[in-house]
């Protein structure tokens, strides 16, 4: 068997073109095109030979993503990509493994797997396209659809309260949690790259537009004219400032977040929350994962980025310790172990 390493000694110089393979077959105007293009663009930056990169997906429009990446790819079954990724990573820790999923795939049918892949800190990068609808099955309500949303399966409006995906990721103790938007090209690149460089479980929610079945789902705060005022771009170590004129901010009033205007009522930058993505205490991260338009600006960027040993590292460590303690196991001892007797 070949034993390649993801971080080859000599950095590999690849370009975006090396990662493109066939023309995508998504609907014209789909947000997925942008996510694909930016992912392909970021890939060469990792310096990893493309044969050591694997994209695994489930079912849904996002599930086609691996077909368009010139790496190893596995288009699996609905919701189960994290399980296959976990097994692959267990067998081959040196590979870089991405999971591409959607809101239905990750949070409905595959909800359990997301929880456990994250809490075990499996070293996989989950990119979840959230369009708040089932697209491939032609327009049913998804776990992130809004209350009252009219879809094919909820003709007079959905009665179900939506999941906040980042809350799930944080609750499951994902060690990297981020949000980005399909139309914010530079931002996606940055977030995908940071996720790729993170060691451990990464969960990235991409707010993605399905222009056929749920057009404009995120438009109220992502449109060019309003986005500066309605989204909060998080940067590690920086105060939480937003607004076209960079004059709005977020601060804590007791236990509650509050929007304030810098310069009014004596408020200065010093009063604002400063983003610390590395904070072990998740209180502020939880708050950022929860606040949303229209009450608050929608936070985008890396919300949480902490380090702890990964699942594959811990597995290898236990094996290493067992070998140190008991010696490398010999098959003859294993088979002839326990109580034996000899018949002549």
């Amino acid at each position: 068997m070949t034993e390649p390493t993801a971080t080859a000694a000599a950095p590999v110089k690849l370009t975006r073109k090396d990662f493109a393979i066939e023309d995508p077959k998504w609907c014209p105007g789909c947000g997925d095109y942008s996510i694909l293009a930016q992912t392909q663009k970021v890939m060469p930056d990792f310096g990893i030979p493309k044969e050591n990169i694997v994209f695994i997906s489930g079912i849904g429009c996002s599930g086609r993503f691996p077909y368009y990446m010139n790496t190893y790819g596995f288009h699996s079954i609905h919701g189960r990509a994290p399980t296959i990724a976990t097994g692959l990573k267990l067998a081959r820790p040196e590979l870089m493994v991405w999971v591409i999923t959607g809101d239905g795939d990750a949070l409905s049918i595959g909800g359990n797997h997301i929880l456990h892949a994250m809490r075990k800190n499996v070293d996989i990068k989950v990119v979840m396209f959230n369009n708040r609808i089932y697209g491939l099955t032609k327009g049913q309500a998804s776990p992130t659809s809004e209350v009252g949303q009219k879809t094919k399966s909820t003709p007079i409006g959905s009665i179900d309260y939506p999941i906040r995906p980042l809350m799930i990721a944080l609750a499951a103790e994902a060690s990297f949690v981020a949000r980005t938007v399909d139309t914010h090209i530079d931002h996606i690149q940055k977030v995908v790259e940071q996720a790729g460089r993170h060691r451990g479980s990464a969960f990235v929610e991409v707010l993605q537009n399905c222009n056929i079945f749920n057009d404009g789902a995120h438009r109220a705060f992502t449109d060019r004219e309003v986005r500066d005022d309605r989204m909060l771009v998080l940067e590690h170590g920086k105060p939480m400032i937003f607004g076209k004129s960079r004059d709005m901010g977020l601060r804590l009033n007791g236990l509650h977040p509050e929007i304030v205007r810098i310069g009014e009522a004596g408020i200065t930058e010093a009063d604002l929350l400063v983003h610390d993505e590395t904070s072990e205490d998740p209180t502020i991260h939880n708050m950022l994962a929860r606040i949303y338009w229209p009450e608050f600006p929608v936070p985008i960027g890396v919300i949480r980025n902490v380090q702890r040993p990964t699942h594959d590292e811990l597995v290898e460590a236990q094996i290493g310790e067992a070998v140190t303690r008991q010696g490398k196991g010999e098959l003859v001892d294993l088979l002839g172990g326990g109580e034996t007797w000899t018949v002549a």
Partner: protein, 617 residues
């Protein structure tokens, strides 16, 4: 304790004895049985055992639902089953007596702890009168021993509560049995030292209990005979006693070594398969990776992911878990990766009888997926056979690039028998040949002989490709919705599995190659059928036994064998699943013998059924 020479009792030689130990699930009956088994094995008897324990960890003490049993049959000849009816019942309380006495052979011996036959315990067991005194056991030889009292006396002076002391009374009973069957206490004394060496008081208590039981046998005069069962004539070699689950685990480890690839075993806890996970998780210094998944689906998903990465990915479960794995198994069929799925069958449907045995998942294994989804199915025939069949399952999976379903069951999983430790040099080479790098790579280009596709794993430069659950274009492996391609691929997948028939051992017949009756079995019915056929043949009946270890595809000669007998009887612990397939595939009017009771067939039951069919000739 005073030592006496003991009373002089005659010794009778027997060729086979079956003992059942029964008590409350907290009484340590499994341990008692296991200790007796080890001792018999080391002595050189052929053995077969069957534990029988309730699904509840601790049902109310003294209740019928809480009775736990362990049966061992040991002998000087070949022992194929744990025995139909026990010759001896050791019952530690009234409930254990009531639950088991009807199985005892007429005239069999009953050894009870008379101390616990109190009015309240009798009531819990549903006895209106004390069976020890009301004459209802007059057809048996009853030995009522105040085990609790005697044991407490033996442990006097030890720094433990009377309740703690009472926990060792099972070893008193074991000591009695060791005396009765002229067995050495050494293996158990060694075991006590290994197990409790760090807790000297507990170790001493168990030693005293065991020796007190033995001395009781020796000094009292309630037993009039001792029994000796000489060693069996087993083939030369080194032996150990294994359960089916142990042998399955070892088979997987050996297969990985024979293939020179890592083993990744991924599983979700489920009775009666969990012991495979437990065992493999102790093999870390052998590089074995185990993964306790969040659910059954994740367990098979991770196994498939490991296989995708070039490892031997395996998962184990039982029927309900198998139902959950069906979709992922279909994906494994589509992506044509090697994968082992162990189904340790138990009583169903639904949660069914979690601790009892059944053969009711054959249809599920063969047909239980959407689409035309063929895969090989194998079934071991005895606990020791689990080793060889696990290796065989892997041989097929790796050579043909296919998931394989391996149907064990609770009887095999928990039952034990001696296993001859194999010489690794005699096992098949499981290396998967590297493909010739000079030739062009297409993900679904098949080997001409086996129709297997190449196993090119991530990390292989220049061969980046995509696989998945959508239909693949022949050879190229890209997604295809083409009608003719789908038909062709469906045929190819079926043909690949069908070709395995020419690559497996032919169906062997025990007995004359033609005759009045063939008894055809699969899985754990092996022992009962073989024993029944031996008895029938000894009476001059023209009866043969054939046992299927490959259930899909069948060995190539199966039809010929079936057509060589006047009648074909198929005993199964289901309502006729193999029989239905046999009739469909070979147009042979096979007759079913089907009992779904959560327990194995008795030898006598099969014998009687065969006699009935022979009588109708």
């Amino acid at each position: 304790m005073t030592t006496t020479k003991g009373h002089d009792v005659p010794v009778q030689e027997l060729d086979r004895v079956t003992i059942r130990f029964a008590g409350d699930s907290g009484d340590g009956m499994q341990l008692t049985g296991t200790q007796f088994t080890r001792t018999a094995a080391v002595f050189g008897n052929d053995i077969s055992t069957l534990p029988d324990y309730p699904a509840e960890i601790r049902a109310p003490a003294g209740s019928l639902g809480g009775v736990s049993g362990f049966q061992i049959s040991f002998g000087s000849g070949a022992i194929h089953t744990p025995g139909d009816a026990p010759d001896v019942l050791v019952a530690m309380n009234p409930a254990a007596l009531r639950a088991n006495v009807r199985d005892l052979v007429p005239g069999g011996a009953i050894i009870v702890n008379s101390d616990v036959f109190t009015p309240s315990n009798l009531a819990k067991a549903g006895y209106a009168e004390n069976p020890l005194t009301d004459g209802s056991l007059s057809s048996f030889a009853v030995f009522a021993i105040p085990i609790s009292t005697l044991n407490a006396g033996a442990l006097e002076g030890l720094d433990m509560t009377s309740k703690q002391a009472d926990l060792t009374k099972n070893f008193f009973a074991l000591g009695v049995m060791f005396w009765l069957y002229e067995r050495s206490m050494e293996p158990t004394l060694n075991w006590i030292e290994d197990k409790f060496g760090k807790r000297p008081v507990v170790a001493e208590a168990n030693r005293r209990a065991l020796r007190a039981g033995y001395a009781f046998g020796e000094t009292t005069e309630i037993f009039h005979t001792r029994y000796v069962v000489p060693a069996a004539h087993l083939a030369p070699g080194t032996y150990r006693n294994v359960t089916g689950n142990e042998a399955t685990a070892l088979g997987c480890v050996v297969a990985a070594r024979l293939a020179d690839r890592p083993l990744v075993y991924s599983s979700y806890p489920i009775t009666p398969a969990s012991d495979i996970l437990h065992q493999l998780s102790t093999y870390k210094n052998h590089g074995i990776k185990t993964f306790q998944a969040e659910d059954e689906i994740a367990a098979i998903g991770a196994a498939l992911g490991a296989s995708y990465g070039g490892a031997l990915g395996a998962t184990g479960t039982s029927g309900p878990g198998m139902a959950l794995k069906a979709e992922m198994l279909g994906l494994a069929v589509m992506v044509e990766l090697p994968l082992l799925v162990v189904n340790v069958q138990r009583g169903g449907p639904s949660t069914g009888l979690p601790t009892k045995t059944e053969q009711t998942d054959l249809f599920q294994a063969i047909y239980g997926r959407n689409g035309e989804s063929p895969l090989p199915v194998v079934a071991p025939a005895s606990p020791a056979d689990c080793f060889g069949m696990a290796v065989e399952a892997w041989r097929i999976a790796l050579k043909y690039m296919t998931p394989v379903v391996y149907l064990s069951d609770a009887f095999l999983a928990n039952g034990t028998e001696p296993w001859r430790v194999p010489d690794l040099a005699t096992l098949p080479d499981l290396h998967v040949a590297d493909r010739d790098p000079a030739t062009a790579f297409y993900p679904y280009q098949r080997d001409e002989e086996t129709l297997a596709r190449p196993w090119v794993v991530p990390g292989t430069p220049g061969h980046e490709h995509r696989i998945g659950g959508l239909e693949k274009l022949d050879v190229l492996g890209t997604v295809s919705y083409d009608a003719d391609n789908h038909h062709r691929m469906s045929l190819l997948r079926a043909e690949k599995i069908a070709r395995i028939a020419a690559d497996i051992a032919p169906l062997e017949v025990f007995g004359p190659p033609e005759g009045d009756l063939l008894i055809l079995g699969w899985g754990s019915t092996y022992g009962a059928i073989r024993s029944a056929v031996e008895r029938l043949q000894a009476r001059g009946k023209r009866v043969s036994h054939a046992h299927l270890r490959h259930l899909r595809p069948f060995p190539a000669n199966t039809g010929d064998v079936l057509r060589s007998y006047g009648k074909v009887l198929v005993p199964e612990v289901n309502l006729g699943q193999l029989r239905t397939i046999i009739r469909a595939e070979f147009l042979v009017d096979a007759i079913g013998f089907n009992l779904v009771r959560g327990k194995p067939f008795g030898i006598g039951e099969i014998e009687a059924k065969a006699e009935q069919l022979l009588g109708d000739l």
